[in-house]
Symmetry: C2
Amino acid sequence: MNEIRLIPIEGIAEIEAGDDLGEIIADAVSGLVESGDVLVVTHKVVSKAEGRTVPIGDEAEYRALVVSEAQDIIRRRGDLVITRTRHGFICANAGVDRSNTPEGTAVLLPVDPDRSAHRLRSLIEQKTGTSVAVVVSDTFGRPWRRGVVDVAIGVSGLPAIVDLRGTIDGSGRELEVTEIAVVDEIAAAADLVMGKADRIPVAIVRGLALSGEGRGADLVRPAEEDMFR
Amino acid sequence: MNEIRLIPIEGIAEIEAGDDLGEIIADAVSGLVESGDVLVVTHKVVSKAEGRTVPIGDEAEYRALVVSEAQDIIRRRGDLVITRTRHGFICANAGVDRSNTPEGTAVLLPVDPDRSAHRLRSLIEQKTGTSVAVVVSDTFGRPWRRGVVDVAIGVSGLPAIVDLRGTIDGSGRELEVTEIAVVDEIAAAADLVMGKADRIPVAIVRGLALSGEGRGADLVRPAEEDMFR
């Protein structure tokens, strides 16, 4: 195993609708990015660039927006609503976010985070002459465990899940745990150099040796396999 | 934000009951470890050193062991049992693990993973003359999302949760998401250089700037706040 480096990308200004985020990121990582790097980008800047910011008035309007963004309501307790989004992700408030966005606005999830990741990747590769992967991340709570962690919602250029089925462990036995959500581990790792209060929407993860093509949808556990809906 | 490095620690041989794991890790990181480093250690080697390996015969015996290790059964479907352990963690099969352990045996969770982390930390600090933190990790599945990720079950020398309550975001508003499960993100990051099939039970995470003292129990969401039991 090689060492892995988590490199925060500073100097990215506030993103607004219509900004060419691929170009902005390419400029920010210019001279730094290398082929094989994974660029983790928080969905917040992706959504903002894609015009997914909406005005909200009072709390009631926010609540209505959450419901309209949700495909399904999974649980509800007081103001907390656990939803399934159109993408299939189960998260609080349908991913509608009011932090790091101007007062009176909220940011929705990208319509198609895999497509967003793919588009960013193409632009960054063109501009920098490298071959990279892109992960679009969001911050999710979890049942049973306190605190939030960053996870992947969009992927381009690397697998979402690494399947070790048939792999032999150190004792010569086949591994029981076969599917590693490696792209969620990458998103969580990148968050360590991003910080919620800092304006660092992009990090490079360098040193991974992964090949394959995954999608955010690979991370959605099919309803028939899920015991907690 | 500084860069963070994830450094796999190679050269740790198979661990057996009674081995002085603190000394073994201290030897393996000697000349490499620095004050401020976080050492992530998979619970597997901790449990083995602590003699938490038990013989199991057939599948029925394994199933009985899982039930006896569980405090509660949360869900059951076929052979898959989702349990609450005595520590309060909700995970598959009460954490009883049959991979990377000799045929005919299973490895239980440490009795007190925080104490294990604390003991390892003291020994490593003494032997290496550094000031470090230790995280004991395990591999958990999640509801709703496919694939497993590594999480923390024991902590010594750093916070489990970072509370950003009252922190002002880039737009001058108070952050909504306030509790980051930073130690779970650290465990997930470390897994990127461990690999399930490789015998790399320890990784250094270098460059974190965290202070405080947390416990694995900080990560357990109290039943009354949990909507998915």
